[in-house]
């Protein structure tokens, strides 16, 4: 998905610590646990020396011993395929799992925009430090600085590796790599392959993975879904997976488990994620002791194609670059909302972004643009088809751009996007203004990991979107691909060896009580879904959960709304377990059964997201609390109270989640509050 970040240098210092009385909004929904800290980064050293030091200090595994050590990698997107390939090359015994029919289908493939790297090929002042700085600032000072610095450091190696694999990046006439500036970032550091960068990078990683399959170091298990992690003596020692074709419940044991299972945006039902994206792998690990960090941090993208009816199954993103030339408006008068927009005269249109934010206009950051669109539609001035009685869309109009630049120029810049829009909506955007609406796109939250990418379960590592570590409260455009590949190619293979140096671990048998218990859990859940024999389909529950999340834990969150959402989710979840209707059998390809397990986990995650959002009574990055804004309606952080990572421990079936705070301190960067007026 084309990503760009509208980043500006209009920082205003001094607002960040504006005094506010501490309000424990989530009181009664959680218990407070011990503080948490990363112990792996050598934080006493200057930031630029930490990664090289950690790499040196991480113990080595003798090549002859590597083939005695086994690794399970769940997920084959950029973070999973790159890790599995690299660990295979190193000589470990690797098993790679994905729910799709081929590793090449993982949803990294849909990323359009590009991948950042601090190559400074344009000699425009870019550097590792500047990429680090932009990423921490873009994350609204809620990420861990050591991790982000390392990400910026290894970014350059990623480009070298991908070029050597044959990734066909865009090139200049001289044969050297082209770069573009993404959104408002002031340097050109984004490498791209037309609008299909994610596809090309994933195919590169997939080919590297398949090469290791041929070499015999990696075995792939496609159409397999991980349903449980096996923890023995406090260590992750394997997974339970279901063969989605035969239905067989399989036990896979190993010395270490890596989750690269992606993000959980589908908790909202409608998102730009693929249909199968789910939280199950991460959530089952959470229930076994892995903390979930900052689950409420969600990125919502303002330029998606709106919902066209109740049949909608997913949302499609269009490049944010459209906002460079398109003008966003809604009718001033509600009575005009159903009219043909071409019949609405100029004086009856409200170009609301240009009106409210005169200096940045249509180019305000994603979250501001998204929220503003929501406000217009909530106010009854949305456009497009009525779905559930509300029109949720705003116009993105290119009439002025076509007049100014000519149709050909607009076509050469945005032709492919216009075609995509026309294919999906049946409308010609050269003639009729486009309609857009925000959609969930990416989650910054995920399983808590230390500097080694190890979760709170020893031997369970987490990479890519599935972990929380690098993007803070908001992710910069073109940084998701960078993080996935950084983790898989260049970080995890170094840090995991320090853990594996203690191995091989004592062999465990399939009748070990922990294994049997994990198998039984999986079997019980499946049996339950197949025997409820209720009246409602899995999808209908998922859609209703998504509506609750979108309404109360979406673009704007409030104390009242979140508390209401928690009650609604609990009631719906209860009904789901008693009244869901799943047909078919356990021992066959059964897509309703697959979905039932995923939706069950989304209920629990959704509740935790609301509790996390309720606790964080500040606005930061993609998290906007109605109670925490400036007089101008801008997001207001409270660094004095919330400069921490909220890492949640599973509190048991009927217990409350336990909050562990990891304080965020910055030694290499100064915290600032943004302003876009």
């Amino acid at each position: 998905m084309t990503d760009s970040n509208y980043e500006f240098s209009a920082d205003i210092e001094g607002h960040a610590d504006s005094p506010a009385a501490f309000s424990d909004d989530a009181a009664g929904y959680y218990t407070l646990g011990e503080p948490l800290a990363d112990t792996k980064a050598p934080n006493d050293l200057p930031i630029s020396e930490r990664w090289s030091t950690r790499k040196f200090e991480a113990r080595l595994v003798n090549p002859a011993n590597r083939r005695k050590l086994s690794i399970i990698v769940v997920g084959t997107g950029l973070a999973g395929a790159s890790a599995a390939a690299t660990l295979g090359e190193a000589g470990y015994v690797v098993k790679s799992f994905c729910y799709q029919d081929s590793p090449r289908r993982a949803h990294s493939i849909a990323a359009q925009g590009g991948i950042n790297a601090a190559k400074n090929y344009k000699e425009d002042g870019d550097s590792v430090h500047r990429l680090f700085y932009d990423t921490v600032k873009g994350g609204d000072y809620r990420s861990r600085e050591s991790n982000v610095y390392r990400l910026a450091e290894v970014s350059t190696n990623i480009i070298d590796q991908c070029v050597a694999q044959g990734v066909p990046f865009a090139r200049e006439y001289g044969g050297l790599l082209d770069n573009r500036s993404f959104g408002g970032v002031q340097v050109s550091r984004t490498f791209y392959a037309r609008g299909q960068t994610g596809q090309q990078l994933l195919i590169g990683a997939y080919q590297a993975l398949e090469r290791q399959v041929a070499a015999g170091t990696v075995t792939t298990y496609t159409r397999h879904e991980m349903l449980e992690v096996i923890v023995v003596d406090g260590k992750a020692r394997g997974i339970i997976a279901r063969d989605m074709v035969t239905g067989e419940i399989e036990t896979h044991l190993a010395d270490v488990v890596v989750l690269a299972s992606g993000g959980y945006g589908n908790v909202f039902y409608l998102s730009t994620n693929a249909m199968g994206c789910n939280v199950t792998a991460a959530w089952r690990a959470h229930r076994k002791g892995a903390y979930m960090a900052n689950p409420c941090y969600t990125q919502i993208h303002p330029t998606c194609i709106p919902v066209s009816g109740s049949h909608q199954s997913k949302l499609t993103l269009m490049s944010e670059s459209l906002r460079n030339d398109g003008r966003i408006w809604v009718p001033k008068d509600k009575a005009d909302c159903a009219k043909d927009p071409r019949d609405i005269p100029e004086e009856d249109r409200d170009y609301y972004l240009e009106r409210i934010y005169p200096s940045f206009g249509n180019l305000v950051p994603r979250d501001i643009a998204s929220r503003a669109a929501k406000y217009q539609c909530d106010d009854g001035r949305g456009v497009g088809p009525e779905v559930d009685g509300v029109r949720r869309g705003v116009y993105l109009d290119f009439a002025d751009a076509i007049k100014r630049l000519g149709r050909d120029a607009v076509e050469s810049k945005y032709g492919n996007l216009f075609d995509m829009y026309a294919r999906i909506t049946g409308e010609d955007p050269y003639e009729v203004p486009m309609r857009i609406y925000p959609a969930v796109h990416y989650v910054m939250g995920g399983l808590w990991v230390d500097y080694d990418l190890q979760s709170t379960i020893p031997g369970l590592f987490v990479t890519g979107e599935a972990n929380f570590s690098d993007h803070g409260a908001n992710r910069l455009g073109a940084s998701a691909l960078m993080q996935g590949l950084a983790d898989g190619y260049f970080v995890l293979p170094h840090t995991i060896r320090d853990y594996l140096a203690d191995g091989p671990f004592e062999p465990i048998s399939e009748d070990h009580p922990a294994v049997v218990e994990a198998q039984q859990n999986v079997q019980d859940r499946i049996n339950h879904f197949l025997t409820v024999d209720g009246t409602r389909s899995v999808d209908s529950y998922h859609r209703e959960l998504g509506n609750i999340m979108w309404e109360y834990c979406g673009m704007e969150r409030t104390e009242t709304g979140l508390k209401k959402a928690i009650e609604l989710i609990r009631t719906l979840k209860d009904d789901f377990y008693r009244n869901v209707k799943v047909l078919g059998t356990a021992d066959s390809l059964n897509q309703s059964l697959e979905k039932a397990g995923r939706v069950a986990d989304f209920f629990e995650l959704g509740e935790l997201m609301c509790i996390d959002a309720l606790n964080r009574r500040e606005s930061c990055g993609g998290h906007f609390r109605g109670e925490s804004q400036t007089e101008d309606g801008e997001a207001l952080r409270h660094d004095d109270q919330f400069a921490y990572v909220a890492a949640w421990e599973w509190g048991g079936e009927d217990g409350q989640p336990v909050l562990h705070k990891e304080d965020l301190t910055y030694t290499a960067i100064e915290m600032k509050q943004r302003s876009y007026k």
Binding site: E89, D101, S102, R104, R105, H107, I109, A110, K119, Y121, N157, I159, D160, Q161, A164, Q165, G166, P168, F169, A170, R171, E172, G175, L176, A193, Q196, Q199, Q207, E210, R211, V213, A214, T222, A274, M275, G276, G309, S310, H311, Q312, S313, T316, P385, E386, V387, D388, G389, R423, T425, G426, Y489, F490, D539, R543, N547, K581, L583, G584, S588, S592
Partner: protein, 259 residues
């Protein structure tokens, strides 16, 4: 979301669907007929099947199994024979085909990919692992992580990079095979041979790549190419037929080199 739009109700189409139902790989299958009303032209083809499945589920009938994932035309997971055409009447993936391409009263026949090398697993789902095994046989450049030279140490002429990209857009959906009367995967292999063969990094293994990939292709039971061209016509990413010429050229060169 319960209420649909009034616009939809007005334009709702009635369709007759003839869908291939097959319980598993070992059973035989046949076409079943279903009636579906109130189909919105704004639905994607797969959303239309979602609606059918909700109705079947409510009636206690097993929903139709079909594959899809990204639903934005890039992952390659979806793919159906629609009225005998791979991905249906438009040049796009099944997930990007919309119901406005059909009319009220239409009879639509929906079948899985047709190819011995892609056995049916259930209903409309097929097993395409043969494609993965073809890639394993040589569809890559051998470079271990960390051993890559500086990216700018090798220049790649822009036209070669552009050509490599054009054919690297293959999504591995298998429409080329399903459309080919011979069940050949030559377009799939030709795209990969051309992608890697256009780049300086891909030269070292160029001869072995084509020989090994074709060997695997034949071992998987794909048919031979007789230049019919149905594959390129059905390809949702418009991979051109001339990649097969490149494939043959690379094979001749490899044989001259004694492979």
């Amino acid at each position: 979301m319960s209420a649909s739009t009034t616009e939809e109700a007005k334009t709702g189409m009635k369709l007759t669907l003839k869908i291939w139902r097959q319980p598993d790989a070992t059973s035989s299958g046949k076409l079943h007929t279903y009636q579906l009303a109130d189909v919105s032209p704004d639905m994607s083809f797969l959303e239309m099947l979602d609606v059918l499945n909700e109705e079947l589920n409510a009636k206690g009938e097993d929903p139709v199994a079909f594959d899809s994932d990204c639903r934005e035309g890039i992952c390659g997971m979806c793919g159906l024979m629609i009225n005998g055409e791979a991905h249906g009447p438009e040049v796009t993936t099944t997930c990007q085909l919309h119901m406005r391409s059909f009319s009220d009263g239409d009879v639509i026949t929906i079948e899985p990919w047709r190819s011995d090398a892609f056995p049916v697993m259930k209903d409309l789902c097929v097993d395409r692992q043969a494609f993965d095994r073809i890639i394993q046989s040589g569809g890559y450049i051998s470079v271990n992580t960390g051993s890559a030279p500086e990216a700018h140490s090798v220049q790649v002429p822009k036209d070669a990079a552009d050509r490599a990209f054009d054919v690297a857009t293959c999504i591995g959906c298998g429409a080329c095979v399903a459309a080919c009367p011979n069940g050949s995967a030559s377009l799939f292999i030709g795209a990969k041979i051309t992608h890697l063969g256009e780049l300086p990094q891909g030269q070292a293994e160029r001869d072995s790549r084509v020989v090994d990939m074709l060997g695997q292709h034949d071992a998987e039971g794909f048919g031979g190419c007789t230049n019919i061209g149905e594959c390129a016509a059905a390809c949702p990413k418009e991979i051109p037929l001339d990649v097969i010429s490149q494939l043959n050229k690379d094979l001749r060169t490899a044989m001259l080199h004694g492979r």
